[in-house]
Amino acid sequence: MNKKVWLSLAMLLMTAIVSSLSIGRYAIGLKEVSGILLHAVGVDGYFSTPTIEMQSVFWNIRLPRIIMSFVVGSGISIAGATFQGVFRNPLASPDILGVTFGASFGAALAIVFVTQVTMGIQGCAFIFGILAVLSTYFLGSRSWDKSAAVLVIAGIAVSAVFQAGLSILMYISDPYDQLAKIYFWTMGSFQVASWAKVQITLPIVIIGTALLCIFSWRLNIMTLDEEEALSLGINIFKWRLFYIVISTLIVASAVAAVGSIHWLGLIVPHIARYLVGAEHKRLVPVTAILGGTFLVLMDTMARSILTTEIPISIITSIFGAPFLGYLIISRRGGALEGDRAN
């Protein structure tokens, strides 16, 4: 493990946390944050004692939001890296099996028909996200072809079905409130991040991320040709299912909580590969940390630059898409290396 890289990562993470804690629409800067934290452990006097309002805004609004964005960022990124390995495709993203469109459909269904209660929408999104991936897996396994490519095609089909359903729901929804709500949901937002949401999402994502890190070395072998991997001694079908299940649970809970966040799951693994190489035992944890850090920074921008909230996918797209273009053009390191001509 490259000590320099780890050190820079740690510093980046610290900078991200410190700056995010001290930036926001409410006037709480670094001094005030220190004051609040010290006050919480009973130490006063070093910085001005924070007001009740400041404490409330910090503990109830800002902190859960930062935690949420870190958790969601690392979850989606690590799922992206895992899918890229399992499907042997550098262009795979967590949406490849349909979880995002399934969850969007579920959320829209709840918004239009069932309830405006947040927990109801989240639950419905989660269920349909899982359902979508189940359908994809079921569809793909019916084929005589047991390769991973079939799953990708099944994922495209299932995504299309749920996307059509989503369009129908948007069509019949009340344009005054429901439609706007659905649309905003599909762009992703941490606006409603709260401790309640953190409590639900955090355990699933943390456990899932830990599992993916523990079993990350095996992913190296999953990237080989299927016959090769079998010959080396891995039951690729069982392991493929394992990685898909864990990743889907992570992504479904993340998407159910905050909506769909574009590009992150595709871009962050590539950046991580550029930094530490493609070997998965290193790559997977680095991707998680990097993804969490990036999303924290981007959400700080989303909630602070303007008075209004910017949907997070706009920021991830603005930074993500050009970076992908840069990777393609420069062809350095990472996953897009081809063979040298013989």
Binding site: G85, R88, N89, P90, I214, F215, S216, W217, R218, N220, I221, T223, L224, D225, E227, E228, L230, S231, L232, G233, I234, N235, R273, G277, A278, E279, K281, G333, G334, A335, E337, G338, D339, R340, N342
Partner: protein, 261 residues
């Protein structure tokens, strides 16, 4: 007998490629598998390490029926050197070689320092220590083949299958690989089955040969006895014979070229 195959019928879809194959390979032997294109060589290999399920028959390796074994158990006794390998991601050669150890490791493990040292030793033995840290995808065909051979060695399974390792290699490298495999078999007591296109390589390096034609074994046994004109012509067609050079070396040559008639 290390590898025993009984009444094996196998193929893809409804049409079998192999018909009722019966054969055995003894321990510690380097065995060549010869046959024309489409005769079933690769199919046979796939059945031995259970990547392909046979339609009928049994494959027994080290006295165990491979159909009853898990993938991990099979990988502990059979290793496989493919014709070519390509990954979508850029791993170093050392990382590729370390992948060979997966059958010995716990599910949650990653290679330890001892594992790495062992892999290095194998690299030196195979002669690739110079470029082992380079990216695998950037190597030439011959170098890649050596890396995959090193990986199979690292896997440390007593039966080694090599699927046409010579097809992408230049003349010099072909012989280099063959002598390396021969050395490995002698030194470690492995059993190796290697599919070849060039009968000369079988003649020069292999202890035994098995000759396939259209999914049937037409001859098998020690090289000196089995690799003769009759069997060669039965496998590859009329235009082949064994000749002896002026210095006494036996070579397989085409029959109808003017200089050989």
């Amino acid at each position: 007998m290390t590898v025993q195959i009984k009444s094996l019928t196998a193929g893809y879809g409804k049409h079998p490629v192999l018909h009722g194959i019966n054969m055995q390979i003894g321990g510690g032997k380097l065995c060549a598998l010869l046959g024309h294109n489409g005769s079933g060589k690769t199919t046979l290999m796939r059945c031995i390490n259970a990547v392909l399920k046979p339609l009928e028959g049994k494959v027994v390796v080290m006295n165990k029926d491979v159909a009853m074994l898990s993938r991990v158990q099979i990988a502990k006794i059979v290793s496989f050197v493919p014709q070519s390998s390509h990954t979508a991601f850029s791993f170093s050669c050392l990382e590729m070689i370390l992948m060979g150890g997966v059958s010995r490791m716990k599910m949650w493990s990653a290679p330890s320092r001892q594992d790495r040292q062992k892999a290095w030793q194998i690299c030196e033995e195979v002669g690739i220590a110079d470029f082992v840290l380079a990216s695998f995808n950037q190597l030439s065909g011959g170098q890649k083949q050596l890396v995959m051979l090193a990986r199979a060695l690292y896997q440390d399974a007593p039966v080694m299958l090599l699927d046409e390792p010579n097809s992408h290699l230049d003349f010099g490298n072909q012989h280099k690989i063959m002598s390396l495999v021969q050395h490995i078999v002698k030194q470690r007591g492995f059993t190796a089955l290697i599919t070849l296109h060039d009968p000369n390589l079988a003649l020069n390096y292999c202890d035994e040969v098995i000759m396939l034609k259209q999914g049937h074994i037409i001859a098998s046994g020690p090289t000196e006895l089995t690799l003769n004109d009759v069997n060669l012509q039965g496998t590859f067609g009329d235009n082949i014979k064994i000749d002896t050079t002026s210095s006494g070396v036996q070579v397989v040559v085409p029959r109808y070229l003017s200089q050989y008639t």
